[in-house]
């Protein structure tokens, strides 16, 4: 069977599974649509949260970023997991006790302020839409590379699948589909990693293989890699080149941002009890850790394999020649067709600058003749390691599962903010449950259409806006929710002033470095030479959060006390008892 048929078969089978689940898990009430009827087992919810959280960025990009960035990029590993500790202890159980459907609803009720709710809705929509664009473009890329359909068709197919289970099933359909998608994506990520770890170290567990001996050199794998990258003049893989200040703030921003992203928070509204919300965060991290403990191994091993492909006889010996790339086999007779396959996509480029017929891969920018996009390290990994065709097909299905599951979670967060917070909360409070359910489905459909349009015509700044999504979640939503639970003193004025201050300062700092509204050449600073100390714009979310805390505290203390009923509300969300009764409106 050829590769194309295999890809079609495996991806087709996973899609059939998702549609089957959609038909089985239709939502009949708003509680099912927004919170899956609050009947999801904590382990199942943990698995769904894993798929919801792990996007195309985790599945496709992260290992590539680490492969080329080494130790400095550990912030991604710590940041994107450490946020779950904050969620489990500081947010999830209390928000589950509160028992409503959306994050803006909590902020609006706790700070007895429609303005606060509106600010939260805006933050939620901006953060989620920027995120969704990345997922939709990821779907298009995966389709065009593996199924040989053009990007547009791929995107329409992906959107149609999401439409099926998200519009029909709401949170209920999304949850059960995400459980299936988690299984697909973790199998797809782990199998090639196990093969490669066995080839390089003889250890079947990639996370342990990373710290084992490289069988070909007899040295520890990381020592071999470090020797190669430094010999070739690249920056060290093991030592720190970023400043400590920026690394700490970047890690903190990713942690706080993770805990503050609404599509992750709402997942904890679906479990039956407050105690389940706590353990479910732990299960979510178990399922996320399965991928995140493997990712640094995939990174180091992929980099090692890449260097070995271009230096088949070792560094200092003859490198891969253009003739060998053309022929698809190197001097030792190894299959290297993947170089040509990926060169066609433009994500891998080589250019024989010195005209010697060989491709030199070195750290010196002027002499280097090979550029490799971060994103191909995971997708090309099975081909680099000469793994069987079904593994390649599985990786395609895994990449699609990661992108689709995150897109669905984000679309639900967007549509419930519109139907529940804007339509029911502000425009038409008297709407019937049936009417609201219809409004939720229509806004979901519109959100999918907008996301598809943006996926087809991605704004040039799509990659930069991820910093914006995390910055907004970290600087506005996380501090507001945290203070709403842990302080009775923070009042409506303090919360609104804090959110706006954190938001404005963060957005301005990002715009100063990335350009106003991301328009090129309107920036006054660059991340290489930032405005404040060594703080890059991507690391500023944690500073924005601190500003939010300070402003909210000062303004609240200068204004009147919170009303008694709000103090009672805070008292009640702090204890688990009575959570069942709080279900519903």
């Amino acid at each position: 069977m050829d590769q194309y048929t295999l890809n079609l078969l495996i991806v087709g089978a996973t899609f059939a599974l998702y549609i089957g689940i959609a038909i089985w898990a239709r939502a009949g009430s708003t509680s099912e649509f927004y919170a899956a009827g609050r009947g999801v087992h904590p382990v199942m919810n943990g698995m769904a949260t894993g798929a919801d959280w792990m996007s195309a960025a985790s599945f496709i990009s992260m290992a590539g970023i680490i492969a080329f960035g080494g130790y400095d990029t550990s912030a991604y590993l710590m940041g994107w997991t450490g946020g779950y500790v904050l969620l489990a202890m500081l947010l999830a159980p209390y928000l589950r006790k509160f028992g409503k459907f959306t994050v803006p609803e909590f902020i609006g009720d706790r700070f007895y302020s429609p303005t606060a709710r509106l600010v939260a809705v805006i933050c939620l929509i901006v953060a989620s839409v920027t995120y969704v664009i990345g997922q939709m473009t990821g779907v298009g890329v995966a389709f065009s590379r593996f199924l040989e359909v053009d990007k547009e068709t791929g995107l329409y197919i992906g959107a149609a699948i999401v439409f099926m289970y998200a519009v029909l099933g709401g949170m209920k359909g999304i949850t059960y589909t995400q459980v299936a998608q988690y299984v697909v994506l973790i199998v797809a990520y782990t199998i090639p990693a196990v093969f490669i770890s066995l080839q390089l170290t003889g250890n079947p567990i990639p996370g342990l293989g990373l710290f084992s001996t490289d069988v070909s050199t007899g040295q520890p794998l990381l020592a071999t890699l470090e020797g190669l990258v430094t010999d070739l003049g690249f920056k060290s893989y093991l030592s720190q080149s970023d400043t400590t200040l920026n690394m700490v703030l970047f890690t903190a921003s990713l942690m706080i941002g993770t805990a503050g992203l609404p599509h992750v928070i709402v997942r904890f509204f679906t479990v039956p009890k407050v105690a389940d919300a706590r353990s479910s965060a732990g299960w979510a991290l178990v399922f996320i850790a399965l991928l995140y403990l493997t990712a640094p191994a995939v990174a180091a091993m992929a980099r090692l394999n890449l260097i070995n492909t271009f230096y088949p006889n070792g560094v200092g010996e003859a490198t891969l020649s253009l003739a060998e790339i053309e022929a698809g086999t190197d001097a030792k007779g190894q299959d290297i067709n993947w170089v040509n396959n990926w060169a066609k996509t433009g994500l891998l480029k080589f250019d024989d600058k010195n005209g010697d017929g060989m491709i030199q891969y070195v750290g010196d920018k002027d002499a280097n003749e090979l550029t490799v996009n971060n994103d191909i390290m995971v997708l090309a990994n099975p081909e680099i390691a000469n793994l069987p065709g079904w593994v390649i097909a599985l990786v395609a299905a895994g990449g699609l599962a990661a992108a689709l599951s995150t897109a669905a979670g984000l679309l639900l967060a967007i549509s419930s903010a519109i139907s529940h917070d804007l339509i029911k909360g502000a425009i038409n409070p008297g709407i019937s449950e049936k009417g609201e359910l219809m409004a939720a489905r229509v806004s979901m459909g519109v959100a999918i259409a907008v996301a598809t349009y943006l996926g087809l015509n991605p704004p040039g700044f799509a990659a930069q806006t991820v910093a914006l999504a995390f910055g907004l979640a970290a600087a506005s939503l996380f501090p507001a929710i945290l203070m709403g639970i842990f302080s009775k003193r923070i009042n409506n004025k303090g919360a609104v002033a804090g959110m706006l201050a954190g938001l404005l300062v963060t957005v301005v700092y990002i715009f100063l470095h990335k350009g106003w509204f991301f328009i090129p050449d309107t920036n006054s600073f660059t991340d290489a030479d930032p405005l404040l100390l060594s703080i890059k714009s991507t690391s500023f979310g944690s500073v924005g959060a601190i500003i939010n805390f300070i402003v909210a505290y000062v303004v609240s203390n200068a204004t009147e006390d919170t009303p008694q009923e709000i103090q009672d509300l805070v008292e009640s969300i702090r204890i688990p008892k009575g959570a069942g009764a709080a279900t519903g409106h």
């Binding site: 489990a88 690394m247 700490v248 688990p576 008892k577």
Partner: protein
């Protein structure tokens, strides 16, 4: 409904637990993974040092333990203070 003084004691115990666990959270990630890495550089782990391991894997394992310890301790606290569901 639990009485006022009992729920205050419950909340104080919760805050105390969170404080201890978040100190460990910060020491594992920001501490061992970044700030204290130079001090841990003498301890070798498979071709590199302990700080590198904490930054890439160790902190994640610590996070996992922290969440499950918190969930278990809170279940016990819920029962002791009679505020469980």
């Amino acid at each position: 409904m639990a009485d006022k003084s009992s729920s205050n004691a419950y909340w104080a115990a919760n805050i105390r637990l969170i404080r201890i666990l978040l100190v460990i959270w910060a020491v594992a990630s920001f501490g061992c993974g970044i700030l204290l890495r130079p001090m841990l550089s003498g301890i070798g782990v498979g071709g590199t040092d302990l700080g590198f391991w904490f930054a890439q894997q160790g902190s994640i394992l610590v996070f996992l333990v922290l969440i499950f310890v918190y969930a278990a301790r809170m279940n016990k606290l819920d029962r002791e203070h009679g505020v469980e569901e």
